[in-house]
């Protein structure tokens, strides 16, 4: 009798609703993670949206039917108006998710965020201990993260422990899961690096060997058996290694709407690095942007798809893979994502992964700093 439909995917024939709004409230960040997917040119984003501009974005998105709100960055805690934004989101009926490093959080702020109605907090860790954590993220933030992870739980939030995985920490997965367990994490997400932004620039340093991923998956599986329901563990593979293209945003312009710190609207996280003009919430209403802008229509639907995607049986679930990856790997944002084995350029991806297997020297990390951002862009 009563059955349920699946997650955040729209009905095929309905007018798409941007169910998921991502508010990247700033690109400033106290951390310098080399795997960051923010644009290389993040230091150019000086002109951040003011509080009332963000509240207007929330109003407009909610009126369109957006219901899940991600608050992210950079480090969203750097915004002094975060509690105001969260409170307004709660009044509107959004389910709010804070994606944070935990740096800049304290008991008082956590209490305020809870009172403002924040629904969920995801805290990032970079490694299992301070040495490797500092190498990856810069600074000395590990003990802050540990304390804040526990404080999050003490405020009755589920603790969602997120770690981006790569060549420098995959071999530590056992200790990482032990740390999560000891801290009382309810959910752990081990997310293999996606090669965009800074991560793409650092891919020689970050890409693991195939064996590293296999070993980490096996260890994760043993942990799952041990942890049972007390700690749910997700291991998100890397499409370079899985040889399956990831379905871009569940279909371009169907579900996801991102807003960058300067008000530019993004159909995907990496859209600022694509050769398309991004409309700004400062110039246009969100509904017009979603429905009529070039940026949101350019890859909407399937009429624009090249072969082999056009004739592929996976077209409606894969959508041709990732546009940003097509640009980075094929030099053409309209191309089939070379991660897909059906792409004529697939060998290029295989060669990158082979190179990671064979690499003996460790490449240095180019840290995500304002200085590096300026010199690289």
């Amino acid at each position: 009798m009563a059955s349920v439909e699946s997650q955040v995917t729209p009905a095929a024939d309905a007018t798409p609703i941007p169910l998921w709004l991502l508010a990247e409230v700033t690109y400033r960040c106290p951390l310098q993670c080399a795997y960051c997917s923010n644009p290389i040119a993040f230091a150019r984003y000086r002109n951040e949206l003011e509080t009332d501009e963000w509240l207007s974005v929330l109003d407009q998105a909610r009126a369109m039917g957006a219901v899940q709100l991600g608050i992210s960055g950079g480090e969203p805690l750097l915004r002094k108006d975060l509690e105001t934004i969260v409170g307004h989101a709660r009044e509107l009926g959004f389910y709010s998710n804070l994606l944070t490093s935990g740096v800049g959080l304290d008991e008082a702020r956590l209490g305020e965020l809870k009172r403002a109605g924040l629904d969920h907090i995801q805290i990032s860790f970079q490694a299992d201990s301070s040495g490797p954590s500092d190498e990856i993220a810069g600074g000395h933030h590990f003990s802050t993260k540990e304390r804040m992870a526990q404080a999050i739980k003490a405020h009755d939030y589920p603790m969602v422990f997120n770690v981006v995985m790569h060549r420098r920490n995959l071999d530590r997965v056992d200790s990482i899961l032990q740390l999560a367990w000891d801290l009382g994490a309810d959910y752990v997400e081990l997310a293999n690096t996606q090669y965009h932004g800074w991560a793409y620039h650092n891919r020689a340093a970050l890409m693991p060997t195939r064996e590293q991923i296999r070993r980490a998956e096996a260890i994760t599986q043993r942990w799952r058996e041990k942890a049972g329901n007390r700690m749910q563990i997700y291991f998100v593979g890397s499409d370079y290694y899985d040889e399956t293209a990831k379905p871009c945003m569940n279909g371009w312009g169907t579900t996801f709407l991102g807003v960058a710190p300067d008000g530019r609207a993004m159909p995907c996280h990496g859209a600022a690095e694509l050769p398309i003009e991004l409309p700004s919430v400062r110039d246009e209403r969100l509904q017009a942007i979603w429905e009529d802008s070039h940026a949101f229509n350019v890859f909407r639907g399937h009429d624009w798809q090249p072969e082999p995607c056009r004739s592929c049986e996976l077209l409606h679930s894969c959508h041709g893979g990732c546009r940003c990856q097509a640009l980075l790997l094929a030099g053409d944002a309209w191309a089939t994502d070379p991660v897909c084995p059906k792409s004529p350029l697939h060998e290029q991806v295989v060669r990158e992964v082979d190179a990671a297997d064979e690499r003996k020297n460790e490449f240095p990390l180019v840290m995500r700093t304002v200085k590096n951002s300026r010199s690289l862009s």
Partner: protein
């Protein structure tokens, strides 16, 4: 799950009516499940009342249906998925 058990939604899960989708949805960290009519009717009554009270209220709202077995099946499935919090009650029956 006996008749006196009190049933509510798990921490972090929220049920609400979404006009834009003409449906009840369950919201949880970074996710959403769109519910059909019966699922929405049942879950919207998981507010800490007992199972018996829940069924009685549903039966009153939908008198032509004999829904006890279906409701219990649905709630057991929802519980397995981790959507519910139940406290065991003293069963008089």
């Amino acid at each position: 799950m006996n008749g006196a058990a009190r049933i509510s939604l798990s921490a972090g899960m929220r049920l609400q009516w979404e006009a834009a989708q003409s449906a009840y949805v369950m919201l949880y960290p970074e996710g959403m499940i769109k519910l059909n009519g019966p699922a929405g009717e049942i879950l919207s009554r998981c507010d800490g009342r007992t199972l018996d009270a829940l069924i009685a209220d549903l039966q009153q709202a939908f008198p032509s249906a004999d829904l006890t077995a279906d409701v219990i099946t649905f709630l057991e499935e929802a519980n397995t998925k981790g959507w519910l919090r139940t406290t065991e009650g003293e069963d008089d029956g």
